[in-house]
Each structure stands twice: as C-alpha cells, then as structure tokens.
C-alpha cells in the first residue's frame, strides 16, 4: 500500500511534535524514520497507526484519505518499542488475539497463527507466556502478532532497542527477510543510523518534527541536503571547517592559515564573498597527497590511532581539529606537516545561515 503524508502536523498543547511532514512511501518498500530523541518519530508512527489524530494535514493510504479512520480499520500491524504483548496470554493466544477480535473462526485463526509463528521461527514456543521468553523471542512474537491479520502496512517502533548488539544485528536481518518475503510496506523507527542505513530502501531523517531529507541511505550519506544531515550520519563524524568563498565561486579560503583550496565544481547558487560557510569533508574522503604540485590542505599531525584496518589521523588546521582515515602503510608522526587532499566529488559546502548544501 502506498502511503502519502501531506503537510502532516501534530501539536500537543504547546509542543509541535511533527511539523508539516511531506513524504510518499512506495508500496512494498521499507522506510526508516531516523532522528535524534524527541524529533517526532513515534508521534509520526502513532499518527500512521491512527492512535493520534494529526492536527493538520492529510494522510492517504493508497487513494483513501484515512485521517478519520480508526486504527482497527486501517489494515496495519504494529510492533511497539516495549513489544506490548499481553502478559497473561500464551504466545499462541497472543498471536491469535487480533484474529479473535476480527471474529475469525477459531480453527482458522489457530492455523494462521501457527503459520505466522513458523515464519518468525517461534513455533516451538507457542505454549509459553511472554515472561518465559527472551527479548529476541518476545520481539518475534510481537512481529507475528502484527503480521497475522495480513496488514497492508507494518509499523515498527524501535523494535531492536532492547536487544544486545549481536541479537540486534541478527534480528534486523530477520526483519528485512520477513519484510521481503511478505512484501509488505514497512516503516521502521530507529535512532541508530547504522540500523537505518543497513535495512532501508529509503530513510526519512527528522529533526525537531521537520523532515530533513528523504532518500535512499547511500544518497543521504553521499549527498546530504543540509549540514544537519551531514553531521547526523557518519562515524567518526564529518569534518567541518569555517571557510569563505572568493568571488570566482570556486576558491575556498581556509580558516586561520588563509590557505586556499579549489572546489572541483561551482556552487549551485550565488554566494556573497562575506557569507560564512562550512566546508564539510568526511574522514574517509581525505587522503594524504605527497605530490607537492597537487592541491590540498596542509595540516599538522597531532596523533595517529590504529583502528582495525585503518589509521585514524588527528590533525590540526589553525584552531580547527580534523580527523582523517588514512591507509596504515603511510608513516607519519606527531608534529609532521602533511597535505590532505579530498577525493573528487566528495566536498560539501554548507551555508551557515540556513545549513543548505551549496554543492549538491
């Protein structure tokens, strides 16, 4: 089912939890809702579920306007952050509950519940109560319960946040597998960027209730539309340098040292040479340039740290600290001056006044 949010806004007394959100989610895709705590992810999900009524805007499921449709008539399944299993019912009864409410005959209901349990691989636990299950097993029960009515939309609110690191990894692949097997449109809330990047077809990044960017994860990483997106994604985080742009719209003036650096493309729109800009470069997009004739940013090495396969180089340009991931066979020492060049097409330039990316 295709989902459309048109100017969706949700206000509580004096907080605007979601602010004019516009998103179209294609049928059968998995979309992650990503953002810092309190940015309105759960609120958005609750509006999709019909548990909250949007203050403004229209919500379409397919061609149907669903603003006023009750949760049980929306053909959705939802997994809550705390799973919200019925503690007094066995696993089987938990999975059968939605069917029982829909007055499906008992025999058929049990059959479908068992089928669903097999899909999420908990068919050996059917007689247990939720309290006798591990976190990962409870989560599978919650997924089975959400899917048993064959909903058209699956909503998952940070379903992995209670699990340990390994189980998380396992379960997120599991969710992706189930999602693709069933082919169901899925919205997955998380505040873990790695989780969002790894399982989604598209990511919606939010901040303060506003949508920041809605695109495939790799695009979002490579071409952030604004400084917040660039800073939110990536670990170690993107390097930012306060710079100015010359009138030729291509020459960057670096801080403190007043060195210059040529951009490989022109900025998209005219920029006054007085405007404050931020040059953004991801640590892995730097490399050390030994050719004296080539362009680069000359920095002083502060420290080199071995992290797994690579070396993490801490450097300083005037007052600004930088991080670069460099290959381990480069021998540099503290105090050395090195020239860092930027991989082509990997430079970002943000307008500090509104955060907009001026290059992509």
């Amino acid at each position: 089912m295709k989902i459309q949010l048109r100017d969706i806004t949700m206000r509580f007394d004096n907080v605007t939890a979601v602010d004019r959100l516009n998103v179209t989610i294609e049928e059968g895709t998995l979309v992650s809702l990503l953002g810092p705590s309190g940015c309105g992810k759960s609120t958005t999900l609750f509006m999709l579920a019909g548990l909250y009524q949007p203050t403004e805007g229209e919500l379409y499921f397919g061609d149907r306007l669903v603003n006023k449709v009750e949760p049980e008539n929306r053909e959705i399944g939802m997994v809550f952050q705390n799973y919200a299993l019925y503690p007094h019912l066995t696993v089987l009864k938990n999975i059968m509950f939605p069917l029982k409410m829909a007055k499906v005959p008992k025999k058929e209901a049990e059959e479908r519940a068992r089928e669903m349990a097999a899909l999420v691989q908990i068919d050996h636990l059917l007689d247990r109560k939720p309290s006798q299950l591990s976190g990962g097993q409870q989560q599978r029960v919650a997924i089975a319960r959400a899917l048993v009515k064959k909903p058209k939309l699956l909503l998952l609110d940070e379903p992995l946040s209670n699990l340990d690191a390994r189980l998380r990894l396992e379960m997120r692949e599991e969710i992706r597998r189930i999602q693709q097997e069933v082919g169901i449109t899925t919205i997955f809330v998380t505040h873990d960027q790695e989780e969002a990047m790894s399982i989604s077809d598209k990511v919606l990044l939010m901040k303060d209730g506003k949508g920041q960017q809605f695109s495939p994860p790799q695009d979002m990483y490579d071409y952030p539309e604004n400084q917040f997106v660039a800073q939110f994604l990536g670990n170690p985080p993107i390097n930012l340098l306060s710079v100015k742009l010359r009138n030729d719209l291509q020459t960057i003036v670096l801080p403190d040292t007043e060195d210059t650096y040529q951009l490989d493309s022109l900025v998209k729109s005219y920029v006054d040479s007085n405007s404050k800009l931020e040059l953004g470069v991801r640590p892995e997009d730097f490399y050390i340039e030994f050719d004296l004739a080539k362009a680069g940013i000359t920095v002083e090495v502060m420290m080199v740290e071995r992290i797994g396969r690579d070396n993490l180089l801490y450097a300083r340009l005037g007052q600004t600290n930088l991080r670069a991931i460099v290959s381990p066979d480069v021998m540099v020492n503290r105090g050395d001056m090195v020239k860092l060049a930027i991989r082509p097409g990997r430079t970002h330039l943000f307008d500090r006044s509104n955060g907009k990316n001026l290059l992509h």
């Binding site: 049980e72 503690p87 409410m101």
Partner: protein, 274 residues
C-alpha cells in the same frame, strides 16, 4: 557472622512475640468456647479447659436461627463483593485511562471522602435509606457498600502501572475499550482484585453496626448481629458466644488461606519491557 545470627534471632523473637500478641485473642476465644459455664469466669484464668465441652458448639448453633443468619450473611457478602468489584473496575478504568473533563478534580474529591469517618455517615445514610423505604430489606444491607474509594484508588494505581502501549496494541488489534478492560486489564489485575475482594468479604462478613441499625426483624439479621442472642437479661453466656464466634470466623480464615497465594503472587507483568 555471630553478630548476624544474633540479630536474626532477635528479629525472630520480635516476630514471634508479635504474632502471639495477635493470636492470643483467638486462642482465648477457642479456649473459652470449649469451657463449661462455671469455668469461664474463674480467677486465675485457665487456658486449657479441664473438661472439653464440644457440646457448646451444638448448643450455640441451635440457640438462634444461625442457619438463616448464615444465608443472609452469604447473600450480603456475595452481592456486595461482586458489586464492589464491578464498580471498582469501571471507576478505576475511567480514572486511569479515559480523559474526561474534570477527571482529576473528581478523583481528588473522592479521595477526600476517605477522611470522613464512617460513623459520621451512619445517620445520614440511615435517613436516606428510610426515606427510600429500604430499612429491613436486603438493599439496605448491600447498596451502601457497593463502592469503595479505597478499592478504586488501589486498582487505579495498578491500572496506571500497565503501559499505555498495551491499550494501543489492543486498539490496533480491533479490541474495544470495554473489551480491553475485561479481557486484558482485569486478568492482569487479578492479584489486586483478589486483595480487594478479600478485604471486602471480611469487612462485610464481620460488619456489625450497620446491619444492627438497618435491620429490625429476625429474618434479616446477619451472623454478627445474631450473636446478640447470647446476651440476655440474665447475663452473657460467654462459652456459647465464643463457640458461635469461632464458627463464624472459620469461613473467613479458610477463604484467606485459600486465596492468600494470589495476594502474594505479586504483579507478573513480563512481556512488557522498558
């Protein structure tokens, strides 16, 4: 190590003394119920009767229409306990889950009524009931006890501890508010509800003042009121009174023992994390 054992011993000693203090009246009651009439009042008191008089129990039972009193007591107990459970469940749900105008103020006022001593209400309640023409009917024994603020408070707190996601989940599953209350909240609240029911049952079974005031005819009396039969103009027959009392409290003791494991069960709420 030794110090620990010593302090543990001290705690046990205190606990044993405490329970003895609680138990003594019971032991005295049973002891008296088995004495011959001439042994009841002797000084110094005798804990163990010289001649055990089982006959006291039979005599006591037939001194007054206790069978009828029992039926009345059971009717009042069952009706008021079930009634109170129903009103408590509905009110606690409303006060914990439904947003309506003035909810918190109404609840505060309700809590405030707990400060009013029961005795103050005897006369106004009596007047109300006599205006309704209910005096000396079952209604008078039951209706004033169909709701308890304390129980509502207890259950409301319990309901508040059940995460709201559970009701969200139920809503998505197509479960109405009412159905959610009965098929999810109530089963979850079983320990709290059993505690409320036991308190109510004991209170109702032992009630004396109110049934005494609102009943006048023999066939409306409840068991505790029936005990008056042993106080006559010529004095009180303590051995029979105690025998009857022992019989009366027996069902409550059994009820308590049977249900206590549910009270102790605690609140099993796994399946809900976070």
């Amino acid at each position: 190590m030794q110090k620990e054992a010593l302090s543990k011993g001290f705690i046990y000693l205190l606990l044993i003394l405490g329970s003895l203090l609680m138990l003594l009246p019971f032991i005295w009651m049973i002891s008296t119920s088995l004495k011959a009439a001439n042994e009841v009042m002797i000084m110094p008191p005798k804990w163990i009767p010289t001649d055990i008089q089982w006959g006291n129990y039979i005599k006591a039972w037939f001194s007054a229409p206790f069978a009828m009193y029992s039926v009345n007591s059971v009717i009042v107990l069952v009706a008021s306990t079930i009634g109170e459970l129903i009103t408590t469940i509905l009110a606690a749900y409303a006060f914990s889950r439904i947003n309506f105008y003035g909810r918190d103020i109404i609840f505060s006022i309700l809590l405030g009524t707990m400060m009013v001593p029961g005795e103050v209400l005897l006369i106004p309640n009596f007047v109300t009931l006599s205006n309704l023409g209910w005096i000396d009917h079952y209604q008078a024994l039951i209706v004033p006890w169909l709701a308890s603020v304390f129980s509502i408070f207890l259950l409301r707190q319990f309901f508040l501890s059940i995460p709201k996601e559970l009701s969200f989940a139920a809503k998505i599953d197509g479960c109405s508010d009412f159905r959610f209350l009965w098929s999810v909240m109530v089963p979850l609240a079983k320990p709290a509800l059993i505690t409320i029911a036991i308190l109510k049952a004991i209170g109702s079974w032992n009630a004396f003042m109110w049934p005494l005031i609102v009943t006048s005819s023999e066939n409306m009396r409840t068991l505790p009121v029936g005990l008056i039969a042993f106080s006559t103009d010529t004095g009180t027959k303590y051995e029979l009174l105690m025998a009857a009392s022992s019989m009366i409290i027996l069902p409550m003791i059994i009820l308590y023992i049977v249900l206590q494991k549910y009270i102790m069960e605690g609140v099993a709420r796994a399946g809900i994390k976070g």
